[in-house]
Every structure is written in C-alpha cells, then in structure tokens.
Symmetry: C2
C-alpha cells in the first residue's frame, strides 16, 4: 500500500498482533495481512453506488448492492435524489437487533412525506440466481442456516446449489428495506441496519440492499427505544436525519474516500485464516473454524498521498 496513507477503520479486537516476522513460517495475523497487502487487494467504493446518511453526529456510509437488489438500490437512490429522507428520523433502535429510519408520519396519509418520482413499494428481492461466472469465496467452515456461505463482491452471501439461488445474509452492518407483513410492502422508504448478533432468521424474509462501511457506531450506540420493537416512544427521542445523498452527487471534496478489501483475492483468504486461527500472542486456543458473522471485511480511509 505504498501510494496511500491509510487508517484502518476496522477494530482489531483483543490483543495486539505479533510483530511481523518475515522469516516465520506461520500464517500472518490480521495486522500483518493488511500491512502486507497490495493495492490490487483493495477497491475504491463507487460513488454512484454509495449512500451518505448525515446525522448531527457524523456520516454513515452505505455501500449499495445492485448485484443482489437492483430495484431496491435504484429506488433508494431515487428517493435520496429527491431528498425524500432529509429531515426524517431514526425511529427505532432495538437492542441486539436493528436500528431503523423513515418517516415518523408514515402512517398518517395527510402528513406523510410525499414521494415524487421514486416508487413507494417494490416486489421483494429476497434472493437471486447463482451466476457461476461471479467469484464466490466460499467459507469451508460450515453454517447453521444455509448450505453454503461465503463472499461475493464484498458482501456476505449464502447459496443453495439445489435451488440455484443465492442471497445476502443478515450480518452486522447489513442494510435492508423494512416492510409490512405483505412481502411487496417494502421499497426503501423504511430502512434498517443490523446492530447485534446476526439475525439470520430474517434471511430471505426481507430485502437486503447494502452494507454500512463506515459510521456503524453512530447507529449502534444510539439509545434503545423503550416502546414495542424498540420504537422511540416520544417524538423528541427520535434522531433527526440531516440528509441522505448519493455520493456521486456531492463534489469530490465532500466525499468520504474509502477502500474496501476485495473478497476475491488470496489476501482475503489469508485474512479469513488470520481470524479463523488467531496467531496473536494473547490467544491460548485457536478456534479452527470461523462463522461468517465473524469474518471482517476491512475498510480503509484512503488519503491520497501528497
């Protein structure tokens, strides 16, 4: 990573990594994998495929997933482009589950935020066909919920070779479109993010369309709502949304430059192994296995070198 000065946004976890020792035959710890990575191991996130949600406390960056939810991605971008979310609020924070935002007046037809060009609801995009040409970095460690799990384009994915389907899975930081009981009653006007243990029972029950790549702590550390399902009971408890924008619509100087580790590389395989069997001095026992929810997808703040 010679051309960028980078700051690791990813938390490293318990214990410091051992100093890199290039003569050592043992696999590298995560800090070494990142330190030894090449520029080709990273990809910038595409501004046309990125949402910024700005709160008073800072910016949340969401990378969108058009490969998995093209209609929802298009619609959420259309909503952002008509400034649908500006001035709406985070309405619900349920401990160990989700934070959710949308229109506080969504249930009151006369007071609800008007939609100009976007669609109010969409058919569900719960899964899609497996495309065998699409790189799939499979985790051989197994999974309780799905026949296969792994990574596609920087996202946690499950696959079922029998049905020929694949789908995004509800790991920490994944973003989806809330819906009513009828499956076609979502579309991106109500959005939730996973802030707790992966609620995998939601997989294929609701459309995931992106992942928070920066700013999770602005959502995960919000006060929990005390109403049913974690809804805030008093209007003044809600957290106002200043703006939601497509990154490409901002001048480059106002964008947040990020690079995400590619998940179709040997380096990402090394990263998984570094988390499967922790080599840091603190660890007494190596797990030998890793569950998809514990695989980090590193994100770096990229600052062009002067």
């Amino acid at each position: 990573m010679s051309f960028y000065a980078m700051v690791v946004l990813l938390a490293l976890g318990f214990g410091a990594a051992n100093a890199a020792d290039s003569s050592s035959p043992k696999p590298p710890a995560m800090a070494e994998v990142i330190a030894n990575s090449k520029s080709g191991d990273w990809r910038p996130i595409d501004p046309e495929n990125t949402l910024y949600m700005d709160l008073a406390t800072g910016r949340i960056v969401i990378e969108l997933a058009p490969t998995f939810a093209p209609q929802h991605v298009a619609n959420v971008k259309a909503l952002a482009r008509e400034h649908y979310f500006d001035g709406l609020a985070i309405l619900r924070v349920q401990d160990n589950y989700v934070a959710q935002w949308g229109d506080p007046n969504g249930e009151k037809p006369e007071a609800a935020r008007k939609i100009k060009n976007a669609r109010k609801t969409l058919p569900p995009e719960f899964d899609r066909s497996i495309d065998s040409k699409m790189p799939f970095s499979r985790l051989p460690d197994g999974d309780v919920y799905a026949p296969e799990v792994g990574f596609v384009e920087g996202l946690p994915v499950a696959r079922d070779p029998k049905s020929g389907k694949m789908w995004l899975v509800h790991c920490y930081g994944m973003v989806g479109a809330g819906r009513d009981s009828a499956p076609e009653r979502g579309g991106g006007t109500e959005i939730y993010v996973v802030i707790g243990h992966a609620p995998r029972h939601l997989d294929r029950n609701v459309t995931l369309f992106g992942r928070v790549v920066k700013g999770m702590e602005l959502l995960s550390a919000l006060p929990r709502g005390t109403g049913p399902l974690g809804f805030y009971e008093k209007p003044e408890q809600r957290v106002p949304i200043k703006t939601v924008r497509v990154a490409a619509d901002l001048p480059p100087t106002e964008r947040t430059a990020l690079e995400v580790m590619r998940t179709d590389t040997k380096t990402f395989g090394q990263l998984i192994e570094s988390r499967r069997n922790r080599r840091e001095e603190w660890f007494q026992l190596q797990a030998g296995r890793i569950e998809i929810g514990n695989v980090p997808i590193p994100v770096l703040a990229a600052t062009p070198q002067k």
Copy 2:
C-alpha cells in the same frame, strides 16, 4: 403465571405474534409460549448469585455462573463485598465486540485501587468436566465452533464429548474476566461483556462467569471508544461505576426481582422451536434451524401480586 404480574423484558423482534388460538394445531409463537407458561417454567435468580452494577443511568443485573467458574464467581463477589469497583469506570467500548470496566489506574501501582481480601489473579476456568447428571438441553441445529451446543442452568454452553469438557460460550450479554496475555492474569478486576455478534473465537480463551439478565442497553448503547481496542482516550469519556454489590447484601426492598425461564423444560424447547421456525404472520420463510446466539433466554420482571 397466575401469581405474578409480569413484564417481558425480552425484545420480541420483528412483527407481532399471532393471537393465540388454542384450537390451532401449529406450534405456538414465542409470545404464546410465554403466555402459556406455568410458574414451574421460571426460576427466581438467587440474590447470593447476582451482582448489581449501578450506573448513573440505571442498574445492570448479572447472574453469576458458579457451576462453570466457581473461583471467579467467589472472587468477584469478594471484590464487590470490599467495594472494590465503587468509583471505578467503564474504560472500553469496542463496537460489535465488548464493553469493559475496571480500574483506570490499574497500570499505575501507586495509584491503583487496593485489593483488601480478594485475589488479584486466578487460574483460568476456561472449561470444566461434563457432569452427566446435569441437564443439558442440546440444540440439534449444529454449530460452527463446537461439537455440541445447548443450555445448562440458563446459560449457553458448548460440549465436546471426546474430551469430556464443557464450557460457556461468548453469546451476547455474556460476562467474562479480562486478562493479560498470560492466562492466569485475570481474576475479575477487569470485567467485559459481549455487546455484538458472538465472538466465539474467545471461547476457552478467557473465563466467562455470568450473564447480564437486565440492563444490557445501559452497556451496549454507550459511546464507542476511539482509542485502540475501543478504549476511551480521555478520562472524562469514561463511564463512572457508582457501586457493584451482591444482591443478597441489599435489603429485599432494594433488590430487582427477576425470573429467568428455566432451560431444562418442555416450555423452553417450545420457545426454541418458536424461534427456529417463526410462525408470526410477518415471516414468509421459516429458517428451519437456529444458531445458539439467536436463542433468547427470557427474563421477566416479577412483581408479587397484592
């Protein structure tokens, strides 16, 4: 539950349960399992086996696990009884990982809080022998990390029949004794709680000794620390601990009356099934499996009937 008026502390998750229909042959949803439970399905928590950590924002209740970590439980109670923790602070909150508390001056011998009767460090209690007489409610759904998982005495447990060992696992809300790199360098003066996706790679690397049964949101919603490992960088960011007490040492009127669902009952089996295959109207697809981190252990606030 005729003799108690009860308030469910457990979040119910997406969607409301269907109204109970006793003529329906389908298995009950979680709300029905709880509504139909009998008093024998619940147990009060033992005040001698319960810690209260009082912050300015409220009380955190920790049920201790002497079956799995007898020395750590005894030592943490001894520390509480000599008021070791009073005036110390939450020092570290790492997003999607742990919150940790202890002595801000722990590294400065002259300024560190003195220990009177308790022990500063203890041998690890990472696992223990399986006792075949101890009820083990095994989850047949599988697990990525361990040969067997299930519940013992209201706690999430893994077992390895080959080695004859069992151990507590790092699910959300589990409480452990932080340690330095040497495994005997813990003992309960530094305590952490899991606030994110179950970090199962910590299993058998660190001694778990209890579970938060009330007040998790007072820890999980704290601001994340911005230093390495989520440590707060400025002293004023630390969250002061008013007191930590053994519940039995408080007069009964000052205790928090709680009942925990027993995990060795048919009712708990029904509860697991209600979460494995969600019958609430909102769900389109039933997962058919459940991972141990997604099994709730319900806790009720028990108010004696007048």
